[in-house]
């Protein structure tokens, strides 16, 4: 009997200890369909999503669950790894911190969504593809596998370019440079006044900057090839010219840039523009919102321009940065998810995203009508009307990721090495050679 008591006690202790491990969240069965959307609580805010989800709930009689976090990458990764509780739609741009979307693309964990383009937008009679600005769904990063299918849906587009203090240019009587020669001449002029020509937040911003530059030096066809890891094109003199132009900027860089080009201090580099310490910074239209509360020089006024042209008769390019949403493998309500995505491209949703969110512009035909004349964004979004050409950003997905060779992320060989070029720890030739060597490894592994 005593023995039995002992055993009983011990088992009771064990059971209590283990009880914590069990899971007990069984959902009540309901007929109501639940659409789960997870996404980044980032620069554009969540207000737009909440408003659009509410409208969609009313229209379809379903429930939409939103899960928006600043570290959504870390939140979702273990769940996707375990194959449990996978959301129906993920809103997280390629290249974001933690690289979840990039990994999803590389691991082919995203469902094709071509049929959305042919769907009718719920609540209207318009076809989705008719309401999206032409060309937007052709971008390489949305169709990463060369099978012609669309996997990621574009949203929140924003022209990227060089931001500057238009007030300072007026005050000094300087012209905004249109070619790189004029740019460097302006750099010398500004240097005499103790102002640096150039700064950048982190090397991650070079994806947009460098893509536009490659389009200028080598042209859009060559650019397309380069984004498909074409060795020959990368080895051309035109491609190298882009590296050299960046190298030349090292003589004009704001001296504190590299020390502050990290996730904690990057806004100090952005502050350099507000303080008139540097003239230009590559960035996107979210910059004025991000620096809204920062102190600034007297007479400060945001200005934005496309990259200067390589020659007077060349083209100026401005990278169009878009964010992405997609349906991951393992999503349960695929049809409903597609319907919701289709609704996101309605004029109604576009207005909600812009007004309730923080100025997020959907790539729909009438979305830019939401930008009123007195809105600072008017200046930015008219960049293409003023003659600049648009280019997309992003490399094709690789079949085989090469161990130890990080070619294309913000800290990778192509962009991360810019820090070394700016501090003159590496020459442009070293940077270029390192890149070509790494590129060859990548090409070799993917033959």
């Amino acid at each position: 009997m005593k023995k039995f008591m002992k055993l009983a006690c011990v088992s009771a202790v064990m059971l209590t200890a283990l009880a914590g491990c069990g899971s007990s969240d069984k959902k009540a069965d309901t007929d109501e369909k639940v659409l789960k959307i997870a996404g980044l609580n980032g620069g554009f805010g969540t207000g737009g999503w909440e408003a659009v989800a509410k409208k969609f709930e009313e229209m379809e009689g379903v429930k939409v669950e939103l899960e928006f976090e600043k570290n959504i990458s870390d939140v979702l990764r273990p769940r996707i790894q375990a194959g449990e509780d996978i959301p129906d739609i993920i809103y997280l741009a390629i290249g974001g911190e933690g690289g979840l979307t990039d990994t999803m693309v590389k691991e082919k964990q995203i469902q094709p969504i071509d049929d959305i383009l042919d769907m009718t937008i719920p609540g209207t009679e318009t076809k989705v593809s008719d309401n999206i600005i032409p060309g937007f769904t052709d971008a390489l990063n949305l169709r990463p596998y060369d099978d012609g299918k669309l996997y990621l849906a574009p949203l929140n587009y924003s022209p990227c370019g060089l931001f500057y203090n238009a007030g300072l240019f007026k005050e000094k009587g300087w012209e905004v440079p249109t070619t790189w020669d004029e740019m460097f001449a302006l750099g010398d002029k500004a240097k005499a006044e103790g102002i640096s020509l150039f700064t950048y937040p982190t090397t991650g911003y070079f994806d947009a900057f460098f893509s536009a530059l490659l389009n200028e030096t080598a042209g859009p066809d060559a650019y397309e090839k380069m984004m498909h890891y074409d060795e020959k094109t990368w080895e051309s003199a035109e491609a190298k010219q882009a590296f050299e132009l960046v190298g030349k900027l090292a003589d004009y860089i704001e001296p504190n840039t590299v020390a502050q080009a990290n996730g904690t201090d990057f806004s100090k580099n952005q502050q350099a523009i507000l303080d008139n310490k540097a003239l230009f910074i590559p960035n996107g239209t979210w910059l004025p919102g991000e620096m809204e509360k920062a102190p600034r020089a007297e007479g400060f006024e945001w200005g934005m321009m496309a990259l200067p042209k390589v020659s007077a008769d060349g083209d100026a390019y401005s990278t169009t940065f878009t964010e992405q949403m997609y349906i991951p493998e393992g999503a349960t309500n695929v049809d409903l998810a597609k319907k919701f995505m289709a609704y996101c491209y309605s004029d109604e949703a576009a207005t909600l995203f812009y007004t309730k969110g923080k100025s997020a512009v959907m790539p729909t035909i009438h979305a830019s009508d939401n930008i009123k004349d007195d809105d600072i964004n008017k200046v930015f979004y008219s960049i293409y009307d003023n003659g600049a050409k648009a280019n997309a950003v992003g490399f094709a997905a690789l079949e085989n990721q090469v161990e130890g060779v990080d070619l294309t992320t913000g800290e990778g060989i192509l962009y991360g090495t810019v820090n070394s070029v700016m501090t003159k720890d590496k020459t442009v030739d070293q940077w270029y050679d390192e890149f070509i060597t790494a590129l060859k490894k990548v090409v070799e592994a993917n033959k």
């Binding site: 023995k3 002992k6 055993l7 011990v10 088992s11 202790v13 064990m14 200890a17 283990l18 990764r77 996707i80 790894q81 933690g98 690289g99 990039d102 990994t103 999803m104 590389k106 691991e107 082919k108 964990q109 982190t202 090397t203 001296p255 504190n256 840039t257 590299v258 020390a259 502050q260 080009a261 990290n262 996730g263 904690t264 201090d265 100090k268 990721q401 090469v402 161990e403 130890g404 060779v405 990080d406 992320t409 800290e411 990778g412 991360g416 090495t417 810019v418 820090n419 070394s420 501090t423 720890d425 590496k426």
Partner: protein
Amino acid sequence: MNNRKQERRFVWLCLAPAILLFTIFMVFPTLNVFRMSLLKWGGLSANQEFVGFNNFLILFKDMNFIRSCQNTILIIVLVAIITLIFAVVFAAILTREKVKGENFFRIIFYIPNVLSVVVISSIFSAIYDPSNGLLNSIIGLFKPENWEGIKFLGDQSIVIYAIIGTMIWQAIGYYMVMYMASMSSIPEHLYESASLDGANKIQQFFKITLPLIWGNIRTTLTFYIISSINLSFLFVKVMTGGGPDGASEVFLSYLYRQAYDNATYGYGMAIGAIVFIFSFALSAIVNHITLRDDMEF
């Protein structure tokens, strides 16, 4: 006989929950890291390819990994030595000497441990600020007007020392308290008789204090190794992100970059396996070479 058998069964039963939990949450994941280090895998799909020791072969030729090794070892060595010296000396002063405001100093030294790593990193980012940081402002007093300031986090040859400085500042208080605890248990009469024999304070420190806390120092050496590897990741992540251009990359930040940013999860786990073996081996070596006959009072 029967009684002993019963007793043993009882002991095992009592241990079972702990062993079970330990196996599930410690042993199994560790073994899993080693298993995954043999795979070519992106981390999310079911698409896993067994590649044997290939990941390790690539690893030993990967110059970025070797640089992260060098940085980690430099951090372990410098942080351990400098923190040890400061912590022991401060502890000795605070326990043996009558210092005014003794408790005040104890609190001051311990404060960094109450702060989170992110807070400390932000404080030091501000201290290292190239234009108006504390350090550059002080050095600037002795420099000409147009002096540009040292780029503590932007200069590839300095950045790792900037991180080491932060880690030492953060660690001293913690270890000081540990040493103080063992120093205060040394009986007073040993010091009394030593001073009657004419030993001065410094002789007392080396002949009495140090030998009698040796066991404690040995334990903390293992702590230095483990915490340097772990904390360096957090500091690097917040302060530099491994930059500029990988100059401040350490073991775990490089692991993170490869496993997540570069989508080579298996390769990242190979780094994890190396870190695991490295920290165990280093701790064992340090433990072995610092072995002395125990001194007791």
